[in-house]
């Protein structure tokens, strides 16, 4: 249980995107079936016949980055309220029926999407379709349930953010890096907004975004696509559609110089978070290789214990105990490259920052070696196979790309794009984006953890 970069941990949290979502081969292409219902619901089906199970996910194009200041967190609160009953199924029925059918399910809200899922033995897929299509149109928003659930979400915020020093740093960091841009707002919402959120706000949000034309149904598992489509027509197909008006894509505020902040919190271990504005796939009609070069760069720094961060910062220089990177090429609004780490005992966050900047300098001045590039690419080839082991993840990839960028086929080209990246391209993106005027750095300033517990016991 050694220190692991917080960004690596965050990569498995459902509030953030996975870090290196290297992906799909041509074999995947053959088995994705695509369909569209008359009411605008998009359907994607990924067959996987290894086990008699199915995963059903319904994705809505709504999430933290759609929210204006004042009602931040509303998408996530609405996600919670979606379990509170409809005109057909009172509170608690949804979960009871899924459970009775041997299923499990949950939901997650991201910056750019909200998704609901059930995992079931394959013959029970219809149960999911009945229930999900019902709450797509018939949700009851009840004042008493809402007041209790708002308290639950506030407790969730305490658990995830208020009492977690690194999460506090991350939240304040993103606000500084993105200022008034939606990516500067926390998915779970500011506490002040949660406290004054009202039922009426939720009603409007639900009416505006929960409609077939704004949703994607993803089914993965041991299914016959034609039967799935027929069952979807019988259920989701009967949900009336309304037009969706999507907010404009706001520009990222210009940054003209390094930005620094320090966050005090009770903690034992110092922490540093650094970031740079970079492009994402959505930005890149011309230089479309750049996001993929950034992903490879991320692997060069942090793709295992042979990669530069572990080898140089932890193993050789002993300046860090953990260091990691995070970059999502498929963000809806903007790309951002994050680096985080903990200084080793006796080292400061300033020394850690200097050591990281030296690694960045090296990326700008010498091409990465063929051996390093080969290693990152070998890992991508292998992970293309490994990820086929998870039915849920196969569905997740399709849903993510279709909900954020309207194009699940990006998964198909993803590996190929990564394999095409050259050492020169990695150097080029490092030079172009990793400079001081584009940098934001936050440090955790640990305050004593005053506790009656004896440390070290």
């Amino acid at each position: 249980m050694h220190p692991v970069s917080l960004l690596k941990l965050a990569a498995v949290s459902l509030l953030m995107l996975p870090i290196m979502s290297a992906s799909g081969k041509s074999s995947a292409e053959n088995s994705v079936t695509e369909a569209m219902l008359d009411n605008g619901l998009k359907i994607l089906i990924k067959e996987d016949h290894r086990a008699p199970v199915v995963v059903s996910q319904i994705w809505y194009r709504i999430g933290g980055s759609y929210e204006p200041e004042g009602i931040t967190g509303i998408s996530h609160v609405l996600e919670h309220m979606m379990f509170k009953g409809t005109s057909n199924n009172p509170t608690g029925e949804f979960d009871r029926i899924i459970s009775e059918n041997g299923g499990s399910g949950n939901a997650f809200t991201g910056r750019d999407y909200t998704a609901y899922f059930q995992k079931l033995e394959k013959s029970r897929l219809g149960v999911s379709f009945d229930l999900e299509s019902d709450r797509m149109q018939n949700l009851l928003l009840n004042e008493d349930e809402f007041k209790k659930e708002r308290e639950v979400v506030i407790e969730e915020r305490r658990l995830r953010t208020e009492d977690k020093p690194e999460s506090k740093v991350y939240e304040k960091f993103m606000k500084r890096a993105f200022r008034d841009h939606p990516y500067g707002r926390p998915i779970i919402g500011w506490m002040r907004d949660l406290e004054k959120l009202e039922l009426e706000d939720l009603e409007k949000w639900y009416k505006r975004y929960y409609t077939p034309a704004n949703a994607i149904l993803v089914v993965a598992g041991d299914v016959d696509p034609q039967q799935v489509i027929a069952a979807a027509k019988e259920t989701y197909g009967k949900v009336p559609s309304t037009d969706v008006d999507m907010p404009d894509r706001p520009a990222v505020p210009e940054q003209n110089g390094v930005q620094r902040l320090s966050v005090k919190a009770p903690a034992n271990v110092a922490y540093m978070l650094m970031g740079f504005h970079v492009p994402a796939v959505v930005d890149q009609p011309d230089n479309e290789w750049e996001p993929y070069a950034l992903e490879i760069l991320s692997g060069i720094l942090d793709g295992g214990d042979a990669a530069r961060f572990f080898d140089q910062l932890i193993r050789t220089e002993k300046v860090a105990t953990a260091a990691g990177t995070d970059y999502d090429p498929f963000a809806r609004l903007a790309g951002y490259f994050l680096i985080d780490g903990n200084p080793a005992d006796g080292k400061t966050v300033e020394e850690l920052e200097q050591a990281i900047l030296a690694q960045i300098e090296r990326l700008k001045t010498e091409p990465v070696s063929p051996a390093e590039l080969d290693r990152v690419k070998a890992q991508i080839v292998a992970s293309d196979t490994y990820e086929l082991d998870s039915i849920f993840y196969q569905g997740m990839k399709l849903g993510l790309l279709e909900s954020t960028l309207f194009d699940w086929r990006l998964t198909e080209q993803h590996s190929e794009r990564l394999q095409a990246v050259t050492a020169e391209q990695v150097m080029a993106v490092a030079k172009k984006y990793f400079h001081e005027d584009n940098m934001t750095v936050a440090v955790l300033d640990p305050q004593p953890v005053n506790t009656s517990e004896v440390a070290g016991q």
């Binding site: 220190p3 149960v127 953990a322 082991d389 016991q457």
Partner: protein, 431 residues
Amino acid sequence: MKRNYLICLLLLMPGQAIASPDVHHWLTDNGARVYFIETHALPMVDMRLVFDAAGARDPAGRNGLAMLTNDMLLDGTGELDSKAVAEGFENKGAEISTSSLRDMAIVSLRTLSDPRYLEPVSNLLAQLVADPSFPQESLDRERSRALQALDHALQNPGTVAKRKLFSKLYAGHPYANFAIGTREGLKAITRQDLVDFHRRYYTADNLVIALVGDLDMAQAKKLANRISGKLGKGKRAELLPQVPAIAADETRVDFPSTQSHIMLAHIAVKRSDPRVFALKVGNHALGGGGFQSRLMDEIREKRGLSYGAHSYFLPMQQKGPYLASLQTKNKQVDEALTVTRDVIREFIDKGPSPEEVEMAKKNITGGFPLTIDSNKKMVGTLAMMGFYDLPVDYLDTYIDNINAVSREQVIKAMKSTLSMDGMVTVVVGGK
């Protein structure tokens, strides 16, 4: 109405017989226990090695030694230093990791099955497990990282609560020890300690090899022999001491957090205890069944007191705990604690309703295919079966074992396992 009709129809369908995968079991030439599932759907192999060499085996004054030994297996062997080892796996796209719990010291490997990958990667693993070099420089680095990980753990109120809870529940027993150890223990560990610990516990007789993937029987046998072949035969670790019963206790720890973490626990059962199936069904209704459980319903759904409220049984070689946990803002601690205790007390007294038993059984049996729907899940299940000496037909009989549980058995199992007189409470948080 149509909706309900459809669901009823599905429920009326006769339960489909779910074929569980064939589990093959044998011993390697030098005595390691192997559990294997053959599946060629994907060109990959998952392997999990489990040694009885985890936190519960830490010698006195050396808390953290088992974890450091496990972790440092990957820090070099023969001519290879830690970077060369990392390259040996990562250049081939293989994923290697170690982890150390209370009972199990684990090494996990995932690799492509093509011999160009599998051969070099499994050879390297075999050499590392049998003959790690434990360089002093690596020990210094990993010790320093472990100390910081310990500091990090202790800045989290949930982790502080759990450590406190285990120290109370298992006072004087090896299960009180956390894998990551203590500051004093970590500081005292020497290279010779690692060497001695490795020699004692990293042996074929003390090893379970779980294998899942794209191999036929002959290949699997060859691979298992390769992995264990360089290990000494050794002997299986002796059984851990019995866990003594303890009396109820409550501890409050001040902590600068906005929420308090509340945990209640009781010494419960061994993995070999025949009551585990009844307790699994019972806990589903009490705290393990998500929104179908009473704890979640009373704490979150009815009162909005906490984001999560769960409980579980953790059977181990010796009696593992029953553990219930939730978190709430500091000023609501007393209310939340009262509700939690009332729910557990009433459940021990009266047990689940017949409907709750039915719901639990339907969910557990209906969801069984989901617990083995990937190579990763299967290899974890095999490792657990092997480590705890469960029968080879464990998967084949699982659904029948759950279906055979009656309400009376649940009530009896709960009453004979738990009582409020043995419930240990820990609350960590602010005022």
